[in-house]
């Protein structure tokens, strides 16, 4: 039971580490020479291994252990970063991901990892003779190296200083007998021995972990001493159940060489030790872990945030009620208090909404991996460019957009990007580009998926649409190119001539569209044959609390989202023209069609003889329309609530809200009203 409270943390952190490994592996593939990336991967893998072992997930620990070995070979220039090596490592990461998913679904994290482990072991056995030069280098730098202790700059400084004082630094690798029962006790005894003859400045795993027996059977300590290596070895071996001790001198000169190479740094090192200490901080701040330590954050369970949000929604509803009461009573003191409360709760609302904002990176970060394996699978060359991953969106929206985006990206790669030879013959670079971009614009976030592939064949789309009875010939005549491409999203539509492994699974584009639309989004597609396609998705920043204009139609109240409103207007009936049986007005030099809400919503009412129309001018992209209502009540913050599963597809209604007086008002889906 005691584990369960750590489980969540374990899963969260494992996912972070896996993501880091994934990102860095992709990076490594691009820059195989950059061994600092290998170090990063190694660090994540190592932590993952430790966590897995602590939580008792043996397969996880076993697999990461083998992965580490391979990484280690890469780090020591004993294994080259080839596509094959990357495939095997990625395969291992896939398995790790599966294990984590299994654990987060309540499974026991057991998985048959033998095959991958075998692959990893083959890699380790292979050691495909690195070029002689490299081998020689490896040899010269670290003769017969078996210990790979990493020191940060601070530790190097300590080592260097102690050397000046006549101490020698040794790395000592101590292996316990595999049958050892009380590992921690042995470790304790070894430390006792070492501390009699010198100072232990570092151990891997850390002293805490050693104490908790969080290691296999081997650990490494760095000792500063004046005692000879042989004597140290003899002393340690006197502790029982030690199977082997390996001692190596820490090569401080090598470090010195490295540092003097970096121009200014050498001077700083000699002159001001204070500045020295800043350096590692800066250097380390980029890899996730230290960064998060610096800016203080806490992890909050999302459920708690949801509870907070729900409570706040009720507060907003009551606030509306209070505002109404105070305006009715017209008591100055009450008014002031309510005003203050409104202001404070407005600020509070912003804070809560901000807490729920997350960068789209959360969704985007899984795509590079997906694109890599997908392009391999299809034999295509694809470069994925991600722009604006830091753009923030409400969590509820983030949660929903993952799958439809996956579908659109798959679609781009499967149907859009051509095979390398086709691209070559049409004069394009062999490698296709898919650009995934997110950006803010007004109260919306836009996500675009753009490829430089074959584009959409309009004829094919039209033929298919006619075939499936999605449109008639007459409809087509009136349609713009964009609207025709939009037919792709009609239900039961697929232009794929053969169902490939990629496009055959899962959902169609119609589901993609309805998912986005249920989030209050709009999807458009544009394309140029031979040049590529662009899928653009417009999403609201947040779903839960929105600004609306309340309007009245006869006895009924409706809410029109402010984001869709251009402005409000009152026009004389005489200014209304009729064009082909459609009422229009001339609005700032533009012909704008009118939509009579009482007709659309069949509001029961008697004909009123009003000289004027109250209008709410709404837009959807370029298109504009005027909603005719009876009166405008005013602007309000409302809490958006769904109509529930039983009423999921009501025309032109996107939800409901509860007003201050407890009444339910429907929210108009303006997108549905503009064709």
């Amino acid at each position: 039971m005691s584990q369960s409270q750590y489980l969540e943390v374990f899963i969260d952190e494992s996912q972070e580490h896996l993501q880091a490994i994934n990102d860095n592996l992709l990076q490594l593939e691009k820059e195989p020479g950059d061994l600092s990336i290998v170090g990063e991967i190694f660090r994540s893998a190592h932590t993952l291994k430790g966590m897995g072992a602590t939580m008792g997930y043996e397969d996880l620990a076993h697999l990461t252990h083998n992965m580490e070995n391979v990484l280690d070979l890469i780090r020591n220039d004993q294994l080259e970063v080839t596509s094959h090596v990357m495939d095997v490592v990625f395969e291992a990461v896939d398995d790790l991901e599966e294990i984590i998913v299994d654990i987060s679904n309540g499974g026991d994290g057991k998985q048959d990892v033998n095959e991958v482990v075998k692959h990893l072991e083959t890699l380790q056995g292979l050691e495909p003779a690195p070029s002689e030069e490299q081998a020689a280098k490896a040899e010269a730098v670290q003769p017969a190296n078996t210990i790979n202790e990493n020191y940060d700059e601070y530790e190097w400084t300590v080592l260097a200083q102690s050397q000046e004082q006549g101490y020698q630094a040794y790395q000592i690798q101590i292996s316990l007998d595999e049958k050892t029962m009380l590992k921690a006790a042995r470790v304790y005894m070894v430390f006792e021995v070492l501390e009699q003859i010198g100072d232990v400045i570092k151990s891997t795993p850390s002293a805490d972990e050693l104490e908790e027996e969080k290691f296999d059977f081997t650990f490494v300590v760095t000792l500063l001493t004046t005692t000879e290596a042989d004597e140290i070895k003899q002393r340690i071996l006197k502790v029982s159940e030690i199977s082997s001790v390996y001692i190596e001198i820490v090569n401080i000169d090598q470090y010195k060489e490295n540092t003097t190479k970096e121009k200014n740094q050498g001077k700083e090192k000699a002159k001001s030790p204070a500045k020295k200490q800043e350096k590692p901080k800066k250097k380390e701040s980029s890899p996730g872990k230290k960064g998060t330590e610096l800016n203080k954050t806490i992890r909050v369970n999302i459920d708690r945030l949801d509870v907070l949000m729900n409570l706040f929604e009720e507060l907003v509803i009551d606030r509306g009620r209070l505002e109404q009461i105070s305006s009715e009573l017209n008591n100055t003191e009450l008014n002031e208090t309510v005003e203050r409360m409104s202001r404070i709760s407005g600020d509070l609302q912003e804070i809560i909404l901000n807490m729920r904002m997350m960068p789209v990176d959360q969704v985007f970060n899984r795509f590079p991996r997906m694109v890599r394996s997908l392009s391999k699978e299809l034999g295509k060359k694809v470069n994925l460019e991600i722009i604006g991953a830091e753009t923030e969106l409400d969590r509820t929206i983030i949660d929903e957009i993952g799958d439809p985006l996956v579908h659109l990206i798959r679609n781009s790669i499967d149907h859009g990007i051509e095979h390398p030879d086709v691209r070559k013959s049409s004069g394009k670079p062999e490698e296709g580009t898919v650009e995934l971009r997110a950006y803010h614009s007004g109260n919306h976030v836009f996500i675009e998926i753009k490829d430089d592939g074959a584009g959409i064949n309009k004829e094919k789309v039209i033929n298919k649409a006619l075939e499936n009875g999605v449109v008639t010939e007459e409809d087509l005549e009136k349609m713009t190119d964009q609207q025709m491409y939009g037919l792709l999203f009609a239900s039961g539509f697929s232009t794929a001539e053969e169902v490939t492994d990629v496009s055959g699974r899962g959902v169609g584009l119609d589901v993609v569209r309805s998912t986005f639309e249920s989030l209050g989004g709009v999807v458009t597609v544009d394309s140029e044959l031979g040049k590529g396609s662009l899928f653009s998705i417009q999403l609201p920043l947040t779903l839960s609390i929105i600004d609306v204009m309340l309007v009245e139609v006869a006895e009924e109240k409706y809410a029109v989202p402010l984001t869709a409103i251009v402005e409000t207007a009152i026009v004389n009936k005489e200014e209304v023209y009729s064009a082909h049986n459609q009422k229009v007005i001339d609005f700032r030099g533009k012909v704008v069609p009118l939509v009579f809400l009482h007709e659309i919503f069949q509001v029961p009412a008697e004909e009123t003889d009003n000289e004027f129309y109250s209008l709410v001018i709404i837009n959807k992209g370029e298109k504009v329309a005027g909603l005719v209502v009876d009166s405008l009540i005013g602007q309000h913050d409302i809490v958006l609530k769904s109509l529930g599963n039983y009423l999921s597809n009501v025309f032109a209604i996107s939800g409901a809200t509860i007003l201050g007086d407890g009444q339910v008002a429907l929210i108009v889906d303006t997108n549905a009203l503009i064709k």
């Binding site: 009423l647 999921s648 008002a665 429907l666």
Partner: protein
């Protein structure tokens, strides 16, 4: 679905009134019984859907069961009740003429719906129950709810 496995067990039901007949719904489905309250009309939905109401800050669809079963409408009065049902987190409510009673019905007393009851609603009826001198029509709630979801999806 649930109906077949429940056939063996005794049922605890709520008895409600529609016109001059008594109907029964399993008490497990009932979340609460409310007095009549304001309902907001939803445009463009089936006539029997009255609209939605604010049930303690939850938007809940309201269905007029008289209209659903093709019985002529009647003014709401003091006796009118709204039965709020909850099935797997989905809330739905029925307007009925009155809620009368809670009782236990032995499974053995459930008889198939007589053919003549018929009409459009027949498929939603699970059977009739005769207890002493009262006759109840037992609703097949799974089916009624299912139809709603199907319609909403269509």
């Amino acid at each position: 679905m649930a109906g077949s496995s429940n056939d063996e067990k005794d049922l605890k039901v709520i008895i409600f009134q529609l016109k001059d007949e008594e109907y029964a719904i399993e008490v497990d489905f009932i979340q609460s019984i409310e007095r009549m309250q304001p309902v907001t009309r939803i445009p463009g939905v089936e006539a029997y859907i009255n609209g939605v109401m604010n049930l303690r800050v939850v938007i809940t669809p309201v269905i007029d069961l008289r209209k659903r079963f093709g019985i002529e409408s009647k003014e709401f009065d003091e006796a009118t009740r709204i039965l709020v049902l909850n099935k797997e987190g989905n809330e739905l409510s029925f307007i009925v003429d009155g809620a009368n009673d809670v009782m236990d019905i032995p499974a053995s007393k459930i008889e198939p719906t007589p053919e003549v009851v018929g009409g459009a609603a027949e498929e939603y009826l699970r059977g009739v129950v005769k207890l002493e001198n009262r006759l109840f029509t037992l609703l097949h709630l799974d089916k009624i709810l299912q139809k709603q979801v199907d319609k909403a999806d269509a």
